[in-house]
Amino acid sequence: MKITVKLFAYFRDNRFNVEEWEIKAQTTVGDIVDSLNIDREEVGVLMINSRHTQFEVEPKEGDILAIFPVVGGG
């Protein structure tokens, strides 16, 4: 199935900003993070369709997954 993967801040370095991905059923958010060679410890926020999510969640067809490092500001 197809999903959209979006990366932010330094996760974009040598990777991409946004890509369409074809993933197998039962693939988790954590699997996707791992396949990007992103250390799970460095992940600050995960969102699917603008809602916070967790490594264990399995994205569904058409989902938009956003992966952020630990960031802050304000």
Binding site: A9, V45, M47, S50, P69, G72, G73, G74
Partner: protein, 575 residues
């Protein structure tokens, strides 16, 4: 040297140096400005009249080598909100004031003649001089002229044309180490300084230093404190992208107020994002990292150059970029940076003014997305004090009232900043209950609602938000008293060594024995002191409310409204 109170009476044009009353001795920064304003200012006075007082105080740790301790608090009754106000900023003035042995400057009264003045602070006290040359000038001319008078580095506080014209969005500018400006931005304190007819204040500490009661303990505590700050990943991201790293994540969450708070996401977010900004700064030879005061180990400020490689502005923040960007639908970072520089120069709050522009766009004064129009209005209307310039320069509420607009994002007449309270519900509680009008810094629930710092709390659920905002507002009031930048809070929320190290620093500085409970008590005392002032000024629980359009208009993409009842909001004060 022992700290003193430097008092200035602008009615009699006299100054004095006073001992610090025992009740004020343990206070600094916001705790001190709010204590003094609550004690000495009649709550019902006109903010621009002779009975208001402008109080300027470095934090408890300012002037020491403690990392990130250079924040300056300025307080008064606000002409924008009518509430008590404390606005803090970086720059060099807090450190220089502390080194000059000044615990606080209290400026009272009002000149009877139509003349302008400057104040010169040294360890001996303050002198008042009539000022003619710089009247009508912008802040950059002021700091250039003042710096030229001194051989060594001095601190400069200044108002631009907006402050001279007593606009309710006028700020007080604070010189940074490189001749850039930081701002005590919110609440119109520049108008209070203008009402006292003071164009600028120079601060020359000469050879003054801050005494440390227990130097060895202080050094050890500072090492632990700086280590906690530097090691926290949020500190690192702030250095790399500035506060503007938030555009993309707040946009993704659906909480980025767009087109005068009618949408929660901005199509042009990528063009104004922290990632794009960092790329532009690097390409044009600017500085991605910059410290707003010596001793900052986070360095969230930056220097943004124009396309020719010349400095356009420095220290441009997420809230300013959001307000001119998403809220006004301007997706051009160069225009936003230019507007930021103009607002620094004329001395007007970049949040209040830009949100006011969004309401003006809704009123049809200019089109959404018209960045050139914003630049024109800043230069030709606000800086010159035309009718339209004064309507916008008096803030978001002023524009709404002048043009009959009902979608006016303010609480206590102060513009709501860069996080929509419908889809980030903790911020709704902070905006509604803050003693100072809508202000994200008072209780930054974004940390826990969005960033997963200090825990996680669903931004779309009401559950736990009142308690979260309460705890953060109490902690923030205490941090604002130390002279510490609020960004230490990210490390403090996650790293258990950070807050004890901060308390050790205060204890070693003064030779005292504060505990964590004392810090909480201090925060609670400050909030209650500020609220008591507001109640005496005429504020009631009915003022602790969000504008009704947040209850009526669902915000895309989550299509949610604000759903806190008044009773729920009021439980905030159960402490």
């Amino acid at each position: 040297m022992a700290d003193k109170i430097f008092r200035v009476n602008m009615t009699t044009l006299t100054t004095s140096v006073e001992e610090v009353p025992a009740a004020w001795a343990g206070h600094g920064g916001r705790g001190l400005t709010s204590t003094i304003v609550a004690e000495e200012v009649e709550p019902t006075c006109h903010p621009l009249g002779k009975r208001n007082k402008l109080v300027i105080a470095p934090g408890l740790l300012s002037g020491t080598v403690a990392a990130n301790s250079g924040r300056l608090s300025i307080g008064a009754k606000s002409p924008l909100t009518g509430t008590i106000k404390e606005s803090n900023a970086g720059g060099t003035s807090a450190q220089f004031l502390a080194k000059a042995g000044c615990k606080a400057i209290i400026i009272e009264g009002q000149p009877t003649e139509d003349k302008w003045y400057s104040l010169a602070v040294t360890p001996a006290g303050i002198t008042i001089t009539e000022e003619t040359k710089l009247v009508g000038k912008g802040n950059f001319d002021v700091i250039k002229s003042v710096n030229a008078k001194f051989e060594s580095k001095v601190g400069v506080l200044s108002i631009g044309q907006a402050g001279e014209m007593k606009m309710a969005a006028a700020n007080i500018s604070v010189q940074d180490p490189d001749g850039g400006l930081r701002s005590s931005g919110r609440g119109g304190l520049g108008a209070v300084m203008g009402s006292k007819k003071i164009k600028f204040i120079s601060i020359d500490p000469q050879d003054g230093t801050v005494e440390i009661a227990q130097p060895e303990e202080f050094k050890a505590a500072n090492r632990a404190f700086a280590k906690a700050l530097v090691g926290h990943p949020v500190s690192q991201a702030l250095g790399a992208y500035g506060t503007n790293v938030l555009v993309n994540i707040i946009n993704e969450s659906g909480g980025l107020p767009t087109k005068n708070f009618t949408q929660g996401q901005f199509a042009g977010h990528e063009s104004i994002s922290g990632e794009t900004m960092a790329d532009i700064i690097t390409q044009r030879g600017g500085k991605v990292k910059h410290n707003c005061h010596p001793g900052c180990v986070i360095q969230c400020s930056q220097v943004y150059n124009d396309a020719k490689g010349n400095k356009l502005t420095s220290g441009i923040e997420y809230e300013s970029i959001w307000a001119m960007g998403a809220d006004c639908c301007v997706d051009n970072l160069d225009q936003i940076a230019e507007a930021d520089q103009i607002m620094d120069d004329i001395g007007i709050d970049s949040i209040e003014t830009s949100v006011a522009m969004g309401v003006a766009m809704e009123a049809g004064v200019l089109e959404f997305g018209d960045g050139a129009g914003i630049l024109r209005i800043l230069r030709e209307e606000i800086a010159k004090g035309t009718g339209l310039g004064r309507i916008i320069g008096n803030g978001t509420g002023s524009v709404g009232r002048s043009f009959g607009i009902t979608r006016v994002p303010v609480v206590k007449n102060q513009a709501i900043p860069a996080y929509d309270p419908r889809s980030i519900k903790g911020m709704g509680i902070t905006y509604a209950t803050s003693t100072q009008g809508a202000d994200h810094t008072m209780g930054y629930t974004i940390a826990t609602n969005i960033l997963n710092v200090g825990g996680q709390l669903d931004p779309l659920s009401k559950e736990g938000q009142v308690e979260l905002s309460r705890n953060l507002q109490i902690a923030t009031a205490a941090i604002d008293s130390t002279g510490m930048c609020l960004f230490i809070a990210f490390a403090a929320l996650d790293d258990e060594t950070c807050l004890p190290a901060l308390i050790d620093l205060i204890n070693a500085r003064f030779g005292i024995a504060l505990t964590g409970d004392d810090v909480v008590n201090l925060g609670q005392y400050i909030l209650k002191t500020e609220r008591k002032f507001n109640i005496a000024a005429g504020f009631t629980e009915a003022d602790d409310r969000l504008p009704e359009f947040f209850y009526d208009e669902p915000l895309p993409p989550h299509n949610v409204v604000c759903d806190f009842t008044g009773e729920e909001i009021d439980t905030f004060w159960n402490f």
